[in-house]
Symmetry: C2
């Protein structure tokens, strides 16, 4: 993280232009990371395996949920340590640090326990939505409690009959004439929807006003607290928003995925009537970056565990001759395919970290840069990267955690090893906050084709700049050449799909998933080349730190073993949608 | 199955040459399949979801294991129906039907419940090992009970410190001077290792004799029954082979994965001393084909469920305009990527079925064909296909079950839908009976390079024959052209890796996993072309049965969307092992 922050992205310099962070220094950032890492490793990580086995329990009589042993205490330490406030607005008690540092902290928390981390994670999303769209009254009442972590938040979108297609939702909100609304309906899949970590939960609920237009243009956002708040800030009556069931899930067992029943629960409007989806999108975009970060955390921890095991576990001899003569067998890390599985996870973690941290850096610029154009451009590029971070990092995370589990052989299939839990936890990340197919349509259909690739070209200029700078450096050729080739191909590839999509919109849907992976590799390739360039400079300056050699080796592995996937992906994306649509006989 | 059996493979004609099956007719085979399908669907399938939630329980005092509700009763019906005897030797009470029909039946059983099916499945492996290597006494005592299914069997290989590397195993067998041995040691990961379905369990246990050479050449195979058998065939004393624990696993919860402790348990030798691994390999090869078949069953059932859901679930409108005007949204099957996920599973199921059934057909020839050369060639090609069936079908099965789960969106992550269980169950298949990496080394290192590709060429002749036959048929060009191209590339590709491996054996290990997938696609491509050829002929003859149109559509999809993966795989396989081995700095 420090390498990416200081040597690749030079964030301290970049942030000098932002008045809010002009005084930030590297030591502060590093110190927060060190302390955050300790919190994740010492307080949260020990809860993960047991939390998965124990799960959450619902008392159907009281509608109260109990989280696994230790979760409540760890959360109390989180609040006590001020961790919830890291990148929040000082006006509401926040520490005002960049989003980037919060994201790095959350990567480590996700490595420690995705299920635990979702409790504060969802709160942070609610904080952002309220901060952007809440009334002064709402902000005054709720933000300080969300910033301190004293209360937590949720986002209540999904209903049994609609997830992707929120236009179908039927939860309704009746105005009471006093500025409040009575909200009635059933929500499902509400992460952290009920628990015992905090005395109050602030639900942000999508619902329809009585006169609302049909579809997605008739959805409004409401703040519905579990307990009403009295004028003095103390808790009042229980609001009728009750947990009626917890889902039995493949993974993230320790996070309560709640069915919530609202029976005339009283709420207040957030943002404008019928513009609830736009307000919720503040939360969704943050959440999408957060989901990519969840898989990044799992990729890293799965890698670290599998690497340690591969060095210890003795099994068979190297094909090229005995390596550990004093042992009954060689450690399995001598086997090429074991190394390939480990390096795949490592490269996905390092490429993903560079991409995600870059995203967090430009998010900061999008919010706080004094120059309008920089803000606008940053916003645009962040919009382009968001679906890639969400889908590419979660697909990669699932592949990586599976590879790492495979390194453990049969032991990987056993709960106690922990490897299989990472796979099960990682699996949800490809689904929630917009499935990865939805992400791919957002990327290709909206972010790229809607402005004829203008945003993609903006990002492409950065790649061109790197190629121009390093294209003459012979040592960089192994990284720059494949990157430059793909960048060229990408332009043609995009235009081609754009034309086909213009004739038949389904062509976009038939190509988008493959397209997103190609785009992901373009961005990864760019960052691996930048990382290799930094490493080569250090080595050129005489550094013998194996850290830089490692960066080069990982980049080399990435370009040789993972990046070539783009060749097949472009071929299948180009095969046209007819092989999917003209298949009615096959799909009966 | 009937299409592959009768229209593609023409098994009844092929089996005419085998005296054992000369009288076999299609009606008999079809009738067994129909009845087998009913048994799987009506008796076994209803147990699967609940069995997963319930799991097995061990009574630590008695060392007895209870299987989930209904498992025992279903197994009694299995025995009662004579299903265990389907393809067993009539000399021991079997029905003498071809292995092929047993395999098709087991595919359906695996669709119904992999965890349940493993109980009889393991028994069948034990039957085969004893049938091939048992003494007359052992066969007389144990085979009739395994054939009837009255008793079950296991294979006890793994120990805590060794799975892949059985040469390290330490369980020991002391001769008692009376022809029996006392076996002492600890085994883990023993599938169906203890349960309440049958009164006796016949364990086949690998152990070392006192004077045994070190490593894999000093391993012998022992038959260790749970209960001794009296001369009259009734059960005698309990043998001290006890279940001391059950593993907590990612999936197949309803199958008891036992830790077994042998404390001087009395056993008898199977086969020759120190040649236990060879004897066990009879069982292992059957088991490897069986594991491919497990994933095939899961692929098919996951597909069927996801297809039904995709037709029902309404969400969003088609990108190319509303399709279901009378409904609030279109069924999700209109979306190109949903179709892609479904067709991927379907193509993996159909290609896998053709390959696996072909394997079972030539296994029958390898055992029972009167012509020595046919037997030998069939044996060789079966040996070539076995690691492909095991690894390619299980990797595909994991991808397919994941795609099908994704079709369900958030609901796929919930236990009650069943989709996530298929993923968890499918995951073990990539690990046990030799990890998929081990399979790839078996294929490339042993089956292909050890005889300079001679076996591969034998199979290649069949592909050449198809290309020669259909190369002039314009309608077949879309299938034959890519197949012919890959067949050409494969020869060069194999030679190239062979040369590199000759210089550095690790090159084989660095290429083998990618190589196996390319080989898998070569075989799939061959069978998809054969299936398309059959379909085209039927359509040419005037058939309007949509079944044949479906075959063409699936083949088209396969060649357009899945087969092109080979382009990237050959590139990464060729990248050389240095990017894996020269990475010590990265893997620290």
């Amino acid at each position: 993280m420090q390498f990416v922050m200081h040597e690749v992205l030079n964030v301290v310099d970049e942030f000098k232009a932002l008045p809010k962070h002009a005084d930030l220094d590297a030591d502060t950032l590093n110190a927060v990371l060190e302390e955050g890492g300790k919190f994740a490793a010492e307080v949260v990580q020990p809860l993960n395996l047991r939390g998965d086995a124990e799960g959450c329990t619902l008392d159907k009589a009281t509608h109260e949920v109990t989280t696994p042993t230790g979760f409540k205490d760890a959360y109390a330490q989180f609040v006590e340590g001020g961790w919830a406030a890291l990148s929040c607005d000082p006006e509401y008690g926040g520490q005002g640090l960049p989003l980037l540092i919060n994201q790095c902290f959350y990567e480590m928390l996700n490595s420690a326990s995705q299920a635990w981390t979702m409790y504060p994670g969802l709160s942070h999303g609610a904080y952002e939505a309220l901060h952007a769209h809440g009334t002064d009254e709402q902000k005054k009442t709720f933000l300080p409690k969300l910033v301190s972590g004293e209360w937590t938040g949720t986002m209540c979108l999904t209903e049994p009959h609609c997830g992707t297609d929120l236009g179908l939702l039927t939860t309704r909100a009746e105005p009471q004439g006093d500025g409040t609304y009575r909200v009635t309906g059933n929500k499902i899949f509400i992460s952290a929807g009920e628990h015992d970590l905090a005395p109050n939960i602030i639900h942000l609920v999508l619902a329809r006003l009585p006169d609302a237009p049909k579809g997605s243009k008739g959805i409004s956002l409401f703040l519905v607290p579990k307990y009403h708040v009295k004028p003095d800030g103390s808790l009042g009556e229980r609001n009728p928003i009750f947990c009626t069931g917890l889902e039995h899930k493949m993974g993230i067992h320790a996070n309560a995925t709640a069915q919530l029943s609202l029976d005339g629960a009283i709420g207040t409007l957030v943002g404008e009537p019928n513009k609830g989806l736009q307000a919720m999108f503040v939360m969704m975009n943050t959440a999408r970056l957060g989901v990519g970060n969840q898989s990044l955390g799992l990729t890293e921890v799965a890698y670290q565990n599998a690497l340690a095991y591969a060095k210890e576990r003795l099994q068979m001899r190297s094909l090229s001759g005995t390596k550990a003569k004093d042992k009954p067998a060689d450690p399995i890390i001598v086997h090429p395919d074991v190394r390939k599985m480990l390096l795949t996870a490592k490269a996905y973690a390092e490429g993903g970290r560079a991409m995600a941290m870059y995203g967090a850096m430009i998010a900061e610029k999008a919010h706080h840069h004094p120059d309008d154009k920089v803000r606008k451009d940053s916003e645009e590029i962040l919009g382009l990267l968001t679906p890639i971070v969400k889908a590419f990092l979660t697909d990669n995370g699932f592949a990586a955690t599976n590879h790492c589990m495979q390194v453990f052989g049969g032991h990987g299939y056993i709960h106690e090893t922990g490897a299989e839990q990472f796979v099960r936890d990682a699996r949800i990340n490809m689904i929630y906050e917009g499935t990865n197919t939805v992400q791919s349509l957002d990327l290709l259909g909206r972010k790229i084709l809607q402005n004829q690739g203008a945003t993609l070209k903006k990002f492409g200029k950065q790649i061109e700049a790197l190629i121009a700078e390093e294209g003459v450096n012979e040592k960089m050729a192994e990284f720059i050449n494949p990157l430059a080739t793909l960048a060229d191909q990408m332009t043609k590839f995009t235009t081609e799909i754009g034309f086909k999509g213009f004739v038949n919109a389904d062509e976009v849907g038939g190509a988008s998933v493959d397209y997103l992976r190609v785009a992901g590799h373009l961005v990864f390739g760019y960052f691996f080349a930048r990382m290799a360039s930094v490493a080569l400079k250090k080595i050129g300056e005489g550094s013998t730190d194996p850290f830089y050699t490692a960066k080069l080796q990982t980049a080399r592995f990435y370009f040789a073993r993972l990046f070539p996937e783009t060749a097949s992906l472009m071929r299948t994306a180009r095969s046209g949608v007819a092989n999917l649509l003209d298949t009615d006989a096959a799909l009966t």
